[in-house]
Symmetry: C2
Subunit: 352 residues, 2 copies
């Protein structure tokens, strides 16, 4: 089987972790008998500075033809904050209806977590973040700007349809795991949005009587997640809260070096996108200090999504073995450079 994959390496350490990921995917193709037809696209800060191009209709149509998108990282100090985020990443998530942002929070053996006494057995959950609406619509209005009376109204727009698809996905995911689902929101304050989220949860839960359903306020989540991650299996939440608590999840699992994510289109109308959680880290670009494991595990999530479950599992377990031996998860203390880590993982897969 052949999959058509678009690679967007982007900026900073993006191209470095991308090349490591492609190495590993090459080994997986040989070993598991599928093939990837890869097209690389120029996009990101450098490209924007040269051409003025962000997300645009032509690129949209080209990308739409692929089975999946592998994404490196975007960003550069020379580009104003917000431009690439809204002008590319969010545009892609929204235009391709990548409804679900899936972020596993898994502590791998040997990885140093900053949480005292935390063990891998206690830390294996998945955060499902709504990825297309909520506060991320970026809408609002400002009146009386530049006067003492300025009022800025910021809106969060939530639709039953948008919430439902994420909630249904979460229940299915919970059925394949420990059958526990937690809604994370702030429904005592965000009354309108919270009512709709809880309403959808209540309705969908009737179809999944085996799944135990729970609710935790987002502030309480920040309190519980670091010290009792074992309380959680699948956590479903809105776009903004998801942005916040997944960073906390990344802390717990030992930092951005290993955190992976998927941006899933669920209706088949456009490709899904897979990216490490870290950014472009311009300060360490070119040094070989970036850990490619977050990107490589995102590649494994892509394979799982494409139906290559066995290859995905092989990559994950090879990555776990290699990570276990690293003295640090990023920087000069890693013991190996970006390429070396990817090669080790590729070798383990080939030896399988």
């Amino acid at each position: 089987k052949t999959y058509s994959v678009a690679a967007i390496p982007g900026d900073g350490i993006g191209p470095e972790v991308m090349s490591g990921t492609l190495n590993v995917l090459a080994a997986a193709q040989k070993q598991f008998g599928f093939s990837i037809d890869l097209t690389t696209y120029n996009a990101g800060a450098k490209h924007y500075l040269q051409t003025g191009e962000l997300w645009n209709p032509q690129l949209t149509e080209e990308l739409r033809g692929h089975d999946a998108i592998l994404f490196g990282a975007m960003g550069d100090p020379a580009v104003q904050p917000g431009i690439l985020e809204r002008g590319f990443i969010l545009a892609m998530r929204q235009e391709f209806e990548q409804a679900v942002n899936l972020r596993p929070v898994k502590l791998y053996p040997g990885v140093a977590t900053p949480i005292a006494g935390l063990t891998p057995e206690r830390c294996d959950l998945v955060i499902v973040r709504e990825n297309t609406e909520g506060a991320y619509v970026g809408q609002g209005s400002t009146i009386h700007a530049n006067t003492p009376q300025t009022v800025a109204v910021q809106e969060s727009v939530n639709t039953r349809q948008g919430i439902s698809r994420v909630v249904e996905y979460s229940f299915k995911l919970a059925m394949s795991r420990r059958k526990k689902l937690t809604l994370c929101h702030k429904k005592n304050i965000l009354i309108e949005a919270g009512k709709l989220w809880q309403d959808v949860i209540d309705q969908v839960s009737e179809l999944y009587p085996e799944v135990e359903v729970d609710y935790v306020h987002v502030d309480a989540m920040c309190f519980h997640l670091p010290v009792s991650p074992e309380r959680f299996d699948v956590v479903v939440t809105d776009n903004l809260f998801g942005d916040i608590i997944t960073d906390l999840g990344a802390v717990i699992q030992g930092g951005l070096g290993v955190a992976a994510s998927a941006n899933l289109n669920l209706d088949g109308g456009a490709p899904s996108m897979f990216e490490a959680i870290h950014g472009s880290a311009p300060d360490i670009a070119g040094k070989g200090w970036a850990n490619p494991v977050g990107a490589i595990l995102s590649g494994a999530m892509m394979l799982a999504h494409l139906g290559e479950e066995r290859a995905a599992l092989a990559i994950e377990s090879a990555a776990v073995s290699v990570v276990r031996e690293l003295p640090a998860l990023a920087g000069p203390g890693m013991g190996k450079n970006t390429t070396g880590i990817a090669e080790d993982i590729a070798r383990l897969i080939s030896d399988d």
Copy 2:
């Protein structure tokens, strides 16, 4: 000097920690030569279930006459979530213009933090949360309810005046500390609100050229706060982000047992309110397992606010000594019960 203070013990462990706090305040009065004229008010879940009363005009007028309000905790499983929060706590914050929610994040020596390797020297910051507006206005609208087309819009309303008073307070606070101020927001996404926050920061910072100003996205804050709290001195943020990151702050400083807060009215038109960060914890009420230190430190913040700085410092240092000897920060393992801990602190103050 005599201060008129309103005590609202509330529910669950609220009355227990309140009585411990009053013990300590009694010792401080003797030692430092001021006096507190205390009036206790019935309010909270039990009172609401009996009388149907929440925040109301008569109570408002009575409370308004006091110099400060000491608050225990509110909440009971028999009262629907949201009722007391919006019907009392938020009503008070808003009606009394308690513009600033001040939450120190300080790791005391001997307190077990879940963050591996964190030391008290590295963890001493203050979070200043805007306390009257933003998403906490609770406004929005839902259309097509109970249909597949439901849309729920939730609004965050931010005013220059509301933000300015908090930002000015924060700069002053930074001047009395390490002269570093960090704005925490998500201005790349919440564009309208973020622009106004940054604008106010930029303007006020011109009056405080000595204060170093920084910006961190709320998601990145969740990433940095647990592992490098030493990066932060004064963090100023909006109501919702403040709610979230202060819970994370409480984790870092060793849990809710010691976390204190102040809800400050800055214009003198109404009293400020002081409360521990923990809730009513109905599951452990009546057992003597509640740690009163969060409430006692909130009492110390009240004294500092009233101008009794020396008494406030004496309470803090007595609490620090007692906390250092506790084997656990809450529950049966504390080694002492609620009353015992308060008595120890009171005794240390009297021995001063």
